[in-house]
């Protein structure tokens, strides 16, 4: 076996991981169910404002700053976070749980390359799901609000930012679940850990104490909130949270999760 016949292309690993994800019967069902839930929650939120619109005061009707918020209600966002985090974790935990990881590692002894390929495919898949959910939510909610002439255009800077943040929320959460899955390996523990980190942890920092608020701003959910809502001008209205800070939070969490995973997988017995 000379080096000439040996090809070690990263693209092959990406393709292999894609085959693995695609060949599971549950994948399309989970993705369809998540998308449907997210779109439905946006429709319900928009319909609520549509019905109550006649009772709003003149300024609320004129400025309708709540319109964008109807596209991204908490129910949809939390569902997407939970689903992306869990499925991201399952991608690795199912391999460790079944022992398939040993077959994979014998086939590809370059463990970190396999892990990177898995992370890349997971991130790409959930970016796609996130984009469909974000654009769909926006279209459904603004379509309903257009009936009251209270829709906002997608081309607004605020709308584009909100759609981008909601799109990226999915891969960010998926990679956090992914990293936890590699660190913990045990399926039930990973699931609880992922749900806790993404959904429960921010609740602990909901106080108005300045130092507690600063911690809260480091949470993924809070960062997403900062990026999708428009209800004031300047950082004061958001307890000091900045847009740049929120994007940084979106970048740091998944990077740290994947970096830790790459670190432990190198020397650990499979």
């Amino acid at each position: 076996m000379s080096a000439a016949t040996e090809r070690a292309r990263f693209g092959d690993l990406l393709a292999a991981e894609w085959i693995k994800i695609r060949s599971l019967r549950s994948t399309p069902w989970v993705l369809a169910l998540v998308t449907l839930t997210v779109l439905t929650s946006a429709a319900i939120a928009a319909y609520g404002d549509y019905r109550n619109y006649p009772h709003y005061n003149g300024r609320d009707q004129r400025e309708h700053v709540w319109s964008l918020g109807d596209a991204f209600p908490a129910e949809g966002c939390l569902t997407l976070m939970l689903a992306a985090g869990s499925v991201g974790a399952i991608v690795v935990v199912s391999e460790y749980g079944s022992g398939l990881i040993r077959t994979t590692t014998v086939a590809v002894p370059a463990r970190r390359a396999v892990l990177l390929a898995k992370a890349a495919v997971t991130a790409l898949l959930w970016t796609g799901v996130g984009l469909v959910c974000a654009l769909g939510s926006f279209a459904v909610s603004q379509g309903i609000l257009a009936g009251r002439d209270a829709a906002v255009p997608l081309t607004d800077a605020g709308s584009l930012r909100a759609v981008a943040a909601s799109t990226l929320l999915a891969p960010v959460c998926a990679l956090i679940g992914f990293g936890l899955g590699v660190l913990v390996r045990h399926s039930a523990t990973t699931m609880v850990g992922t749900a806790f980190t993404l959904l429960m942890l921010p609740v602990f920092f909901s106080s108005r104490e300045p130092w507690v608020e600063r911690i809260d701003h480091m949470m993924v959910q809070s960062a997403w909130q900062r990026l999708v809502t428009l209800y004031g001008w300047g950082p004061e209205a958001y307890g000091g949270a900045t847009v740049a800070g929120a994007w940084t939070v979106f970048a740091v969490w998944p990077l740290v999760a994947v970096a830790l995973a790459l670190l432990v997988v190198r020397h650990r017995d499979v």
């Binding site: 393709a15 019967r25 549950s26 391999e95 079944s98 077959t103 014998v106 370059a110 020397h267």
Partner: protein, 318 residues
């Protein structure tokens, strides 16, 4: 540039499996303790030992899954983990249950083949080789253990590798499957490959392997051709029954035999065949009422050899 097909295995590269002073500890438990042996290409080598002897651990270290605590384990002269892609260097079946039940046999193999840049054609080739073509599109979760073993063998063959390592490959196989697998192993060895099989049953190895590595409690017990092991183990003895056993015994000893009295009228004789014992008794007018040749089975020999090395002896603890 087109796809590089794996070169048909020509037996030009000898992939020797070499374990040298290998020690592996998990916490305070020592699974493998200073183990050294060599497995050569062209023959089927059996890796025998009772449960808990360290066979699986040794295979895991050989395949780069576990890091050795001390010593080295190489396949083809290098640690297996140093290859970026493994399937062209060694095929392995560690545990047939280690698959995702939700995937089809075809998808499972297709992902493995793709990860190593092997052409998709190899998937149908190996499925045909192990007789699973008809089940290719079925989900693995519904497979019997025997079918999963076949799938595991198919995965091991994907890269047409010069070295093959199997952990308990006969588990869950029906008699037809066992026969097929034996034939396959012999053929793979005849093609010049290194074939290394672990088992805790001597009977499985007896008609499959020609070389043996026997381990017990993580240490080497024997490394020799099966025939040598059999000759050593299967030393024949003759049971002689006679009312004049006490008179016969010294005459047998004088003729070069080793005599162990079993009772007043029964002797166990080694080193002298039954016909010579009969002739000797006749010459001295000694009446015999029993003359039986006994051959110890390989299984018994293996048990005797590893008796001191069994980790969980039955009935020893309360």
């Amino acid at each position: 540039m087109g796809r590089c097909e794996p070169a048909p295995y020509g037996g030009t590269v000898a992939y020797v499996i070499e374990v040298s002073e290998l020690t592996k500890r998990y916490g305070r438990r020592t699974a493998v303790d200073g183990l050294s042996f060599t497995v050569r290409p062209g023959v089927v080598t059996g890796f025998l030992g009772p449960n808990g002897a360290g066979k699986t651990t040794t295979l895991r270290v050989l395949l780069g899954l576990d890091a050795p605590t001390a010593g080295t384990a190489t396949v083809g002269g290098v640690p297996f983990a140093s290859h970026p892609r493994g399937l062209r260097h060694a095929g392995a079946l560690l545990d047939a249950q280690q698959v995702h039940g939700g995937r089809t046999a075809h998808a499972h193999l297709a992902a493995l083949a793709r990860s190593n840049g092997l052409p998709a054609r190899r998937v149908s080739d190996v499925l045909a080789e192990v007789g699973l073509e008809a089940a290719a599109q079925r989900r693995i979760g519904g497979f019997s253990l025997g079918m999963k073993q076949r799938l595991g063998v198919a995965a091991a063959l994907l890269g047409d590798p010069p070295a093959l390592l199997f952990d308990e490959p006969f588990n869950g196989m029906d008699p037809a499957g066992v026969l097929w697998l034996r034939g396959l192993f012999r053929r793979l060895a005849d093609e010049g490959r290194t074939v290394f099989l672990s088992s805790h049953l001597m009977s499985e190895m007896q008609s499959t392997a020609s070389e043996l590595i026997v381990v017990g409690q993580g240490r080497l017990v024997a490394a020799e051709p099966l025939s040598a092991f059999a000759a050593r183990a299967g030393r024949r003895c003759v049971v002689v029954g006679s009312p004049d056993a006490t008179e016969l015994a010294p005459r047998l000893t004088a003729a070069g035999a080793e005599v162990v009295p079993e009772s007043a009228e029964r002797l166990v004789v080694t080193g002298l065949p039954a016909d010579r014992i009969g002739a000797l008794a006749l010459a001295h007018h000694i009446v015999l009422h029993e003359l039986t040749t006994r051959t110890a089975s390989l299984e018994e020999a293996f048990m005797a050899l590893t008796a001191d090395h069994v980790e969980y002896p039955a009935g020893a603890a309360r």
